[in-house]
Amino acid sequence: MIQRLPLRLMLPIGLASLVVACGSPEPTTETGDSAAEPEASIIEVRQENFEGIADAFKAIRGQFEGDTPDFVVVETNASIINANAQLITGHFPEGTGIDSGAETEALEVIWETPEEFAEAAGNLVAASSALADAAAAQDLAAVQEGVGNLGGACKACHDVFRVEQE
């Protein structure tokens, strides 16, 4: 798993560990206890992870603005999403939700219904894997369906487990 960690993640994760090592300069929670520091850093790590997914999915959708999508770009970015998606469930230790006072949009329902959350994350792993396979097979119809399913997996999880955006 570590060997397959995308390059783009190494810098943020490295920086995040550095922040922990140096003592976190970022705003801590109102309780201000020292235990909040590693929690704040895992929030940063998971946000970077999700941003990696968002950027990769934008790169994939960008391929459908022109005449012909580049299947290599789609496959590469679907693989990035797949690698990041496998990390998601490990990024949500107890006490790092919105009720902790930290700057996060992670709703407490993540910890109230952990099976559903794991399933939603698993759907993203499956959808990104299917899209990568479809792109590798250069199957346009399957890729288009795969992009739709991937977007559905993002949205379905956000609708339930993330702060309302509207």
């Binding site: 960008g62 993002c154 702060v163």
Partner: protein, 237 residues
């Protein structure tokens, strides 16, 4: 220096003051809602701010004397002269007895333009799979929307910079020139400029009252534009 009358006269009409103070309240609220994941409120307040800015631009065409761009936006050459004069602490070009000076008038236009720019970027910002989107987001592709979102985040700091300059100018007038600009923006009443006033300048007795039909007409046009943007009729299904 011309004689300064102690008599207070009407300088700013009420729509100018209401829009000004609404900007002062809503812009910090826009920042707060964005920072605190209150995107529903960010969008609603953004549309309200858009309506107010459009209204202010229309009022700049149809409002009272000191509200009008035609009166307070001077030729660029005049602006350059005024800036050079201010920097060398010499008397600048003749100014109106009340209302924006040459530099202040351009500052007003730039600030209004910056607010409008920032809102316009926000209308297209966001990603439908990742949280909130502006009402016109689907008019642009995912790559352009991504770039406009970045600009929306970056241009906020340009707007903050301009607001900081605005506040510094008010502080400068207060502490150095001993002129209170805040009071007249609240009450609408103030004294004429103690500057070199244009020969035969009008408005020594203050501005005319704001015409209610004109206020309503500007508000109606502005509301129609914002309703069209917010309703989604501009966006293909």
């Amino acid at each position: 220096m011309a004689a300064v009358s102690q008599t207070k006269i009407a300088i700013w009409d009420w729509p100018v003051r209401v829009t000004h103070w609404a900007f002062a309240l809503i812009i910090p609220a826009m920042w707060w809602t964005a920072e605190n994941s209150q995107m529903g409120w960010h969008k609603r307040l953004g549309l309200l701010l858009l309506a107010l800015v459009i209204f202010r631009f229309l009022w700049g065409l149809a409002g009272t004397e000191t509200a009008r761009f035609a009166r307070f936006v001077k030729a660029p050459a005049t602006l350059i002269n005024a800036v050079i004069a201010a920097l060398s602490r010499k008397p600048g070009p003749p100014e109106e007895p009340i209302g924006h000076g040459t530099i202040g008038g351009w500052s007003t236009l730039v600030l209004l333009g910056a607010i409008l720019t920032q809102i316009s970027l926000g209308l297209f910002a966001g990603d439908p799979f990742d949280g909130a989107t502006g009402p016109l987001n689907s008019l642009v592709g995912v790559s352009l929307a991504d770039r406009l979102t970045d600009w929306h985040e970056t241009f906020f700091w340009a707007l903050i910079g301009l607001i900081a300059v605005h506040l510094c100018a008010i502080a400068f007038y207060h502490f150095v020139s001993r002129r209170n600009l805040v009071g007249p923006m609240i009450s609408g009443m103030g004294q004429v400029n103690g500057l070199d006033i244009r020969e035969g300048a009008a408005l020594k007795n203050g501005i005319s009252p704001a015409s209610l039909p004109r206020v309503l007409a500007c508000a109606a046009i502005s509301a129609l534009i914002v309703a069209a943007i917010a309703s989604g009729i501009l966006v293909p299904a």
